[in-house]
Symmetry: C2
């Protein structure tokens, strides 16, 4: 029987899943495993400045790689806890990530000495217990027999649920040999077929509703279309039916936004009025992969009653008030497309709102939020990877139409600031592996300060993202939520344009940094071909007003306030 070390077993599985880069930070408990990573012919080690950034990089890598998994390696206790925010974010946002933690030897785990990185009280399982809160499955490698099956179990879970998983690898088992036999069968990457009888019933019911709606149907595409990899199936559906399609914020780029039947972003009360009207007045809403979080629904102000809605999900289907557990969209969608194809001619007649965010005609020369975002829309190209941080950025970009085959990456549900910086590293690495276009980040000054050092790794690893840093003197999104002029919403004014030279590009030959103070400087830069080519890492400091916010953010802040009021009124305690 062929054997293989446990480390190589893990790496072979990852290679099968398309992993070419692994992120993390070394430590004495994981270095023996890192030897295997470094020696692997196809997989590269990308050492990060810290584990928080590494966890975000694994998240970004997973999102842009698509159909794969992001991997982070940390060391016992100290490293894994720093990574926890990023792993939790991957859970919340449904991104498959494998978190491998190098841990003390199996014997030490039994004897429980007061080792460095422990809590000092002999609880060697404390970190795993904490990790259980933020991962969908955990496995501890403890012996030869269970190692292979356990590794496979958590990897399969990560892929099928689109969530992070946790794997501890003790120092003494890193080079232990196990059977390689299981590796001959790759792990399944798509869900099992639906029960055919129930599925047929579901299809009939949906077709009946479409007919009853006089074909007045809109399609709403959301986060899980991306997370559960049905982008292709959804695109087939919309092209073969011509029903108008709208997207949620988290669903952005799940369908081509230049497509003639794409109507824009629906986000409840926070939508453009014309979009809102069209979506909410449709006789039937076919919602695909929805994720109804606060910011993704305009603070829960959706106005599409269940009685007019069909919802397709990764593991179940809802038809009006009826639930169909186990009927998943991956297998259902192609059949639905076939059945709905016949409505194409009528569906083509359904009107779309004529709404596009235009560049406003402003008299002054200030780079306003209202100006900046549509202007950026003109700068994007097909296949660009566009990352937006929580803050004015993630709201500002909502109204911008993104180009064909672009990938939009944002953390609209979890919303942990600083995330976008590590994510940009991972996204840029994945984009390079996939031969995609440029990676373009929009990040606020406050968020950048959380994780700024990871610009260093980008420079060192030779990826060339364009980093737009919105310098508006603090936590502007927070100002609009609470404490407009409070001191806690101010931050230190950094010299952003010296970040790249400070963090490793000592002679300035491998990067370019710019500050744009006004519309003219911004336009000149965006029109500069050398800049647009993005053949080096580039940072652009964009000077903005400390109170200015995009339309969608202001609207959202008002809705938040209204929601808080509603709550206060309901609450007997207050």
């Amino acid at each position: 029987d062929e054997t293989i070390t446990i480390s190589e077993y893990i790496l072979t599985r990852l290679e099968q899943m398309g992993v070419e880069s692994i992120f993390g930070v070394p430590g004495d408990f994981n270095m023996p495993f890192l030897d295997y990573v470094e020696d692997h012919p196809k997989i590269k080690w990308i050492g990060c400045c810290n584990e928080l950034n590494a966890s975000h990089a694994a998240d970004g890598y997973s999102r842009v790689k698509e159909h794969g998994i992001g991997v982070i390696v940390t060391t016992f206790g100290v490293g894994e806890l720093i990574a926890m925010n990023g792993v939790a974010g991957a859970f919340s946002e449904m991104v498959p990530v494998l978190h491998i933690v190098g841990v003390p030897s199996t014997l030490q785990q039994k004897q429980k000495p007061i080792l460095h990185h422990t809590l000092g009280d002999g609880r060697f399982d404390a970190y795993t217990k904490a990790a259980a809160q933020t991962t969908i499955a955990q496995a501890a490698i403890v012996d030869k027999v269970t190692a292979g099956p356990e590794i496979d179990r958590v990897l399969a879970q990560a892929i099928t649920t689109a969530r992070p998983v946790y794997l501890t690898l003790p120092m003494d088992l890193v080079s232990t040999k196990i059977s390689a036999k299981r590796l001959k069968v790759e792990l399944p990457r798509s869900p099992p077929p639906n029960d055919s009888e129930v599925e047929a019933f579901v299809l009939d019911e949906i077709v009946k509703l479409v007919e009853a709606a006089d074909q007045d149907v809109v399609i709403l595409t959301d986060a899980c279309v991306i997370r559960h990899h049905v982008r292709q199936e959804v695109n087939d559906l919309i092209h073969k039916t011509h029903f108008p399609v709208y997207s949620s914020p988290m669903g952005k780029t799940s369908v081509n936004e230049n497509y003639e039947r794409y109507g824009g972003v629906y986000v409840g009360l926070n939508s453009h009025p014309k979009i809102k009207e069209k979506v909410e007045n449709a006789k039937l809403i076919l919602s695909i992969g929805s994720l109804k979080s606060d910011f993704n629904t305009g603070m829960f102000t959706y106005s599409v009653p269940a009685s007019r809605t069909v919802e397709l999900h990764s593991g179940h289907t809802l038809i009006r008030h009826a639930q169909f557990p186990g009927i998943g969209m991956k297998k259902l969608l192609p059949k639905l497309t076939e059945r709905l194809h016949k409505f194409e001619e009528d569906a083509k007649q359904l009107p779309l709102p004529q709404y596009k965010a235009l560049i406003p005609d402003e008299k002054d020369d200030i780079i306003s939020q209202a100006y900046f975002w549509p202007r950026m829309g003109q700068f994007f190209k097909p296949k660009d990877v566009i990352v937006a941080e929580t803050g004015t950025s993630s709201f500002g970009i909502l109204d911008v139409e993104l180009p064909e085959d672009s990938i939009f990456v944002a953390q609209i549900l979890f919303g942990s600031i600083g995330w976008s910086v590590g994510t940009t590293l991972g996204a840029a690495v994945a984009a390079r592996e996939r031969h995609l276009g440029r990676t373009i980040l929009f990040v606020g000054d406050g968020s950048l300060q959380v994780t700024a050092q990871e610009l260093s790794t980008m420079t060192a690893k030779g990826v060339h993202p364009i980093l737009f840093v919105l310098n508006n003197n603090g936590y502007v999104i927070e100002r609009h939520l609470h404490g407009m002029d409070r001191d806690y919403n101010n931050i230190v004014d950094w010299n952003y344009t010296s970040l790249l030279t400070t963090f490793g590009d000592k002679d300035g030959s491998r990067s370019r940094s710019y500050t744009v103070h006004n519309k003219k400087e911004l336009n000149d830069l965006l029109e500069d071909e050398t800049f647009a080519k993005a053949d080096k890492i580039q940072l652009v400091e964009v000077m903005m007003d400390r109170y200015d916010a995009p339309r969608a953010l202001k609207a959202s802040a008002q809705l938040s306030e209204a929601m808080a009021k509603r709550i206060a009124e309901q609450d007997p305690e207050a």
Copy 2:
């Protein structure tokens, strides 16, 4: 009955405990509470770049403040998880810290909508469950009646156990009024008295052992002397008995190291041979506040059998093999001092090893580790706060005698790199509040990169630490443990001397940065009075060899290897 808002209740308690600064990062769930912090007449808000650094700052603040508590405020989910490493470190190292988390309203916690910062699956208790692994007590503020008692309960626990605690404050209760009556009684800060009968018995037993040992006694002082605040009691003991006293690494500065009866650092096989001989051959070892972790004991190579040992702890006493639960050292020590005073004349005769780390007479001009640390010893002054990061720094400083009334701060048990940077912020703030001397940090290049941005907050808040950055091209401590020339132990070469101007001192007027390449440059700088005065924040990049390590680190790496071998041999699986 007088009433007070819950926020003010918390702040009043903290003020009673001597808190003058609170660290953290705002978020929409904690900003209403931050209004109270910002408006408080005595307590200052110190906004950090991220929650990891803020958690380390609270740790450093707590350590240097002494007899108090460090406080960090974060926001639900995203912020609190980033802070988790720092809170776990405070647990491991026994540092009282209060972690206040701003959380959704009580109603939202019941209704469980998919709010931003949640895991998206309605588990609103997930973060508290994770926090339970790394804090000694948790409390959720949920109503008027229990709020006061719950706040008091966790604060009392933090102080008596010297561990971190976790408190969630929901948005809707921030301004809720509760009775202020409890505040009239301050929380007890010292442990209750020992059972007098058992205590008397314990005292008799110890005195008998000292007599039987022909007064050949050595005192070993360790971490918990500092953590459980018996420094004064231990100093009384050694001055009134004149028994020779040695310290563990974590016990450094628990007693005055210039004191004539101080013999140096005992750390098992890793000790200087003369110290090892004296300690291990004593007829009786009186160990106070010991914490027997790997690095604190030379990888568990203590050679002081229980039969010759008395151990005093915060909550129990060990006399040879007998345990006395409940007999704590705080109350025991003064009585013991009284009883042992009579041995003073004989104890004075006990010889001390004549070992001091001297500056070696090296021919070359390289700044070696062997040269650097004793040279730094001459630079220190009484009342300095000396912070050493995990790595060559925390080992290099062990052999250096620190001055009277200095405070040594290191994370020798938990050993999370990057910790020292946030800690230095907190330490410097506390040192300023206490009118102590300079705050001096030693940090490796790799560790600095983990948390570098917090230099920004130091500059902005006007504290003036001296930051020695050891530039040795990577993770040198790791090289000595595994993978000497592995790529994963290399890091990006930053422009360290431009960090302070990049991070906020834009015109260079508020900071100074230096690089010292050789012994002469180092000496010139250390002898420069303007530098030594530390009236601005200063960063010194110290150029060192990429393989050089201090004696204690090399010895420790060898012991680690030996330990790993022992384990491999014991292990049936390997």
